[in-house]
């Protein structure tokens, strides 16, 4: 059963950018793609737990600020060393200008 949580206003995130969101002691990263779609992943890189929200969004890719590891944030797929483990993704929906994530 999903647990939809209001994470932020849709306008809080610039196009092709990421912001942090904390809920219930857990860190998430919320993304807005260049074509205005929204995505969410765990907040930390799977390599050394660096916060992804300080990284750089390039198209569908988030680059971790710690060691430049890259993930496809739409699928969570790790795109090569030094990240070898996919990052967990979460379903997202936007309603009434609010971004909700399903934290499961």
């Amino acid at each position: 059963m999903g647990q939809w949580i209001a994470a932020c206003q849709a306008d809080d995130i610039d196009p092709e950018d990421v912001i942090p969101f904390d809920h219930d002691g857990r860190a998430y990263a919320i993304y807005r793609s260049p074509d205005d779609r929204y995505y969410a992943t765990d907040g930390h890189c799977t390599h050394e737990q660096t916060l992804l929200c300080d990284g750089l969004v390039m198209g569908a890719v988030i680059e971790c600020p710690g060691h430049n590891g890259r993930f496809d944030y739409t699928s969570g797929q790790a795109l090569g060393a030094p990240v070898l483990t996919d990052v967990r993704t979460y379903p997202v929906r936007v309603a009434g200008g609010i971004v909700y994530i399903d934290a499961g």
Partner: protein, 368 residues
């Protein structure tokens, strides 16, 4: 005492766990506050500058190699091969470094291609060194954790001097190639190269050994040194600038600190040196924000200089500090250069006694 101290740098020794237990490994490092919008501008990738510089670099390599071959057998070949050697044996280091971070090109395959080429030229396995360098950034100058500490305390002076002609690094590189080609890693490498990545190390070593085997075979077949002067040899006769630049990064500065302003130098250089070293002279900036491409580091320097010590005005100024510091550390391993921040800078981030820069064992620091 000196030998015992050097053993502490092993990643396979007890110092590694001591650093983890003391919170030095993967620690929270100081970062200057740079507004997110400005940082995004600085991090933005672009192919143009890297394609331009790489075309110039490869073009110069080709021109100097051609002129050296044309004058082969006469003393006129010497200056051309000297220039070729520096571009090959020294500048490949900065190309390896920048492409390894994946920040110089916007196009991924260009980055990967340059990384593979530069890794071959500088004689570093692209996989082990990618992981080694990631560790260097996580645990910069943390004793027992950082595999890339060039000037230990006491410094291995003979090794440092020999490396001005690649005489320590090149034999070590070939020893490692043989180890890797046999399907093995060293104990230190096993600490930071994950299992799924190791097959790449073994494969690359076999390819590299085959290339060097063909090169030596051609030299023997043609009874000429020319193939070796062109491939592999420049890592010896052209390596001196690699040392001149590279040792300015951290030598003589604090160990076991969690603030790059205490263990890293930024050195002002002329445009030629900045091309050869690909702006790695902005090293505090690079360590604090490794996602910023080398072409934007001068701008980043302007953003954070209010928080740092003044940059060294020249290579000479840096070396005038490094030489006496490293010599003093031969007899006093607690000594390190502690710089003064500019007025108004955020204070040094020194959360505990272990972070005072002396690099003492964490347990001893806690008791002090």
């Amino acid at each position: 005492m000196g030998r015992e101290r050097l053993q502490r740098y092993s990643l396979a020794g007890p110092e590694n766990q001591a650093a983890v237990a003391a919170g030095l490994a993967g620690g929270a490092w100081f970062r200057s506050a740079v507004p997110r919008q400005r940082l995004k501008e600085l991090m933005r990738r672009s192919d143009g500058p890297a394609i331009r510089d790489t075309a110039i670099w490869i073009g110069l390599l080709a021109v100097f190699a051609g002129l050296g071959i044309a004058w082969w057998g006469s003393w006129w070949a010497v200056p051309f091969f000297l220039a070729y050697g520096v571009l090959y044996g020294s500048s490949s280091d900065s190309r390896w470094h920048e492409a390894g971070h994946g920040t110089v090109f916007a196009t991924r395959w260009l980055d990967q291609g340059l990384y593979q080429l530069a890794s071959f030229m500088i004689m570093r396995d692209p996989t082990t060194w990618r992981w080694s360098h990631a560790r260097h950034h996580t645990d910069t100058l943390i004793v027992g954790r950082d595999p890339e500490i060039a000037a230990m305390r006491p410094a291995r002076l003979a090794r440092i001097l020999a490396n001005f002609a690649g005489l320590a690094d090149v034999p070590a590189a070939f020893r490692l190639m043989l180890v890797h080609a046999a399907g093995r890693l060293t104990a230190d490498e096993a600490d930071y190269v994950p299992g799924p990545e190791r097959h790449k190390v073994y494969r690359t070593a076999r390819i590299d050994l085959a290339i060097y085997g063909v090169t030596i075979g051609l030299a023997i077949g043609f009874r000429s040194w020319l193939p070796v002067v062109l491939i592999g040899g420049p890592r010896l006769y052209g390596a001196f600038l690699l040392q001149v630049y590279g040792l300015t990064q951290h030598a003589g500065l604090g160990e076991n600190v969690l603030d790059h302003r205490l263990n890293t130098r930024t050195v002002q250089m002329c445009v030629v040196n900045r091309f050869l070293y690909w702006n790695m002279n902005y090293h505090v900036e690079h360590h604090m924000f490794p996602m910023v491409p080398c072409f934007r580091l001068a701008e980043l320097h302007e953003e954070i200089k209010h928080d740092c010590a003044p940059p060294y005005p020249s290579l000479w100024a840096a070396w005038r500090e490094i030489i006496p510091a490293v010599l003093r550390q031969l007899r006093d391993q607690d000594y390190f250069v502690r710089r003064e921040l500019v007025a108004g800078a955020a204070p040094f981030h020194e959360p505990g006694p272990a972070n005072d820069g002396r690099g003492r064992p964490p347990a001893a620091s806690a008791a002090a």
